[in-house]
Every structure is written in C-alpha cells, then in structure tokens.
Amino acid sequence: MAIPVKLEAFEGPLDLLMHLITINKVDIYDIPISTITDQYLAYIDRMDREDMNVTSEFLVMAATLLDIKCRMLLPREVDEEGEEIDPRAELVEKLLAYKMVRYMSAELREKQEDARGSFYRTKEDLPEEVLEYEPPVDYEKLIGDNTLLTLHTIFQDIMKRRENKVDPIRSRFGTIEKEEIDMDVKTGYVRKYLIGHGRTSFRKLLERQKSREEVIVTFLVILEMMKSGDISLKQEETFGEITIEVRDPEHLEEELDSGEKEQWN
C-alpha cells in the first residue's frame, strides 16, 4: 500500500507512531495494528540509518508492533479474572503516557512564553555599611570558662615548652662549622691518585672518600676530567665496574703542578 508518510524527522518511535495514528484518523484504543505496523515498517525502511542509537530505538518498536500483530492472530490470553487481554493494551498505555507528555510540553512552552517578560536580578546589592558591619563581641561568650588562672597556666606551659626546646648542654657548644669541600683541592687529589695508579676503578676511588659530599665532589671531578679529555671511562655492563684510565699522564702531571701553584698563590 502507499505510504502516506512524508519523510520527516521524528523524536522517536512513539512520535512516529502517534503521527501514523493521527493521519490514519484511528482510535488510539482500537489501533488497526496490521495497517499501522506496515506503515511503520515502511517508514523505518526509508529512514536515515546513520544514527545507530536512534535507529535501534525505532527497530525495537518495530519488533514490538510485529509481536502485537502476531498475538492479535492468536487466541486471546486471559488474565486472572478471566478477561481477555488485548495485546495492544501495553502499547496504548505507552502512547497515552507519551501523549500526556506532549500535552504537558505544549503547556510548558506557553508558560515559558508568558514568563519571558519578567526580569530577575542575579546579583546582590548590599550597601557598604552592611558589608562592613562587624557584630558586637559578646564577651561573656567569648571568654567562656577561661579565667586569669587559665591564662596563667597557659603562659607557664608556653615558657616550659620553650625551655624544653633548648637543650641545656648542646646549647653551650659553639656552632659547628660546615666543612666545605674545595673542588680544586679534590681535583688535585684525584690527579695525584691517578698519576700514582695509572688505571683504577671508580669504586676504588670512592672507597677513599669519607662523606657523601666528598663522593659527590669526586664524581663531579671525574666528570670534569673526562670532559677535558684527561681520562677515559669504560663500563662493560650496566652497574658494572667503571674503569678510569689516564690518557696522557704527562699532561696530567703538568696540570697538577699548575693547579697547585694556583692554589698557593
């Protein structure tokens, strides 16, 4: 049969169904399910299938319609009270509920139109005197149970706490000077060591350093010497021994001399 449906956008399957019921001028309580189902299927057949979500919703309704159409052909089921169940009943309920929503939205749209002329303020406009107002202090509440004795106890506690903070013995010691490790001195030391050993491991060099600072400075000195080409480093494997090799012992000795001179001058 001819499809009396112009292809237009519908909000959903119920919207389409309502439309079909309206244009067919049929009673919502007595839907000619066969006709409507055919028209519905014909419509979704021509529908833009790009939006899978929308399409699936229309397909679910199509399945429901086909299910109802089948059940209409079978002998009617009966409910607990022996009354025949109309297979369309559930669909009618849904359509009615939807129709109600449509009616309510039309109502809301009208209300929105009427309300549109009223303008509300969104900001408060409080005078400065109000904003700056400080409530008077309720001293009775503020002081509460505190008395002069409380203040006295608190003060004594503070003084005691303060005394405890200062260690009576250690506070008599002078300040301990922080030992500065001179990079140049360390460079001289490393040069001397390398001249004496020629080839050594990084680990061995570090074993002779007393503090963390010394280790760090020694490491920096090694990096510096590698950069200037005095030594070469070799490591066979990750975390393995780092071998330090002097590339030019004579040059190193020269540098050692000049370095020491610089220091003494």
Partner: protein
C-alpha cells in the same frame, strides 16, 4: 513591628539580596513568625499591584524574589541586556515536562516514557540549570534522580511545582476522554 514597616523592611531585604530569599530566612530577619512573614509578603505584593509598580514579588516554592512585571519588558530590552531566552526543542521540552511532573525521576524512567535515549537532553537541561540532581534512587545501580530547579520556576513563571496542571486521576480520566476528540488538532500543532 507595624505591618507597613515590615513590608518596607521586606522590600529592602528582597531588593538588596537580589536573588531569591527563603521565607524562613526572611522571617528571621524580620523577627516574626513565618505565618506573619507570608502575610507581609502578601502585603508587599498587594502594594505593588495597587500602585502600578514596575516590579512585583514572586514566590518560588518556599522562597520569594523581586522581579520586573512582564508588561514593561518592551522598555527593558531597549536599555538592559536581558538574558537570552533559552530556546527549548521539542525533545528538551518533552524531557523537561517528564522531570517536572514525575520528579524525582531517573534517566531510564524518562527514556522509557519518551521511547528514546534521553542522555543528551538531560545533559542540556542540566547545563541550562533547569533541572538538577536530587540524589540517588535506592535501586540497582543507584541511578541519579532528577528534579526541577528554582530557575525552572522562574523561567516558566510558576510559583511552585504544585501549580503545574496536576495529573491526578480525575484529570487523567478527563484527559483520556478528551484525547479521542481533540487528538489531531493539538498534535498537528506540536509536531509542525
């Protein structure tokens, strides 16, 4: 406090606060009972009506707020930058209607009535501030429950959700009867 003075005080408060003021808070500020406060509000409203004022007081559930009377809108738009009217599509309006009438309601319930997924329309209604989350339903998955906001009341000029044409049994019956007769006319109007 004398009624006249209380009305003026309420007016001062509502004007300065700008946004809606709960009747409860107003009654505290005026140092009178909520019942008397409601009377004061009514007095203020009457004053605005009698004197052809440009402003009026509207009730929004259990709060009140001053606003301009809609008949002066034409003057306002000549000078004030009135917030743009939110244009609601049919889809948004349908979802909003369901929230308004069925609140508190979940996304799934709204989708079941409309027969389509409503995620995006719910998101848009939330972003417009017309609906809000009310909490979670004590059901599997603890879905979020939605309800309308004060902004909804303002936008649609309703004092309270109760004021919406209610859907009691009587009305539903009437509606069903009507449905068959009027049907087409009403619908063709909406779907156009």
């Amino acid at each position: 406090m004398e009624l006249k003075k209380a009305i003026a005080a309420a007016e001062a408060i509502l004007f300065a606060m700008g946004s809606s003021v709960r009747i409860q808070d107003l009654s505290k500020a005026l140092e009178m009972s909520e019942k008397d406060t409601v009377r004061v509000i009514a007095g203020l409203q009457a004053k605005y009506e009698q004197q052809d004022s440009g402003i009026t007081v509207t009730q929004l559930e259990d709060a009140v707020q001053l606003c301009t009377k809609s008949e002066y809108y034409e003057y306002l738009i000549r000078i004030a930058s009135v917030p743009k009217k939110i244009v609601l599509s049919d889809a948004l309006l349908e979802s909003l209607a369901i929230v308004a009438y069925k609140q508190p309601v979940t996304k799934a319930e709204i989708a079941a009535i409309r027969g389509v997924n409503c995620d995006s329309s719910i998101d848009r209604l939330l972003s417009f501030g017309l609906i809000e989350e009310l909490g979670r339903k004590d059901a599997p998955g603890r879905p979020i429950l939605f309800g309308t906001t004060e902004q909804f009341l303002r936008s649609f000029g309703v004092k309270s959700i109760e004021e919406l044409p209610s859907l009691n049994d009587q009305q539903i019956r009437e509606f069903k009867e009507e449905a068959e007769e009027e049907a087409s006319a009403n619908l063709s109007k909406i779907t156009m």
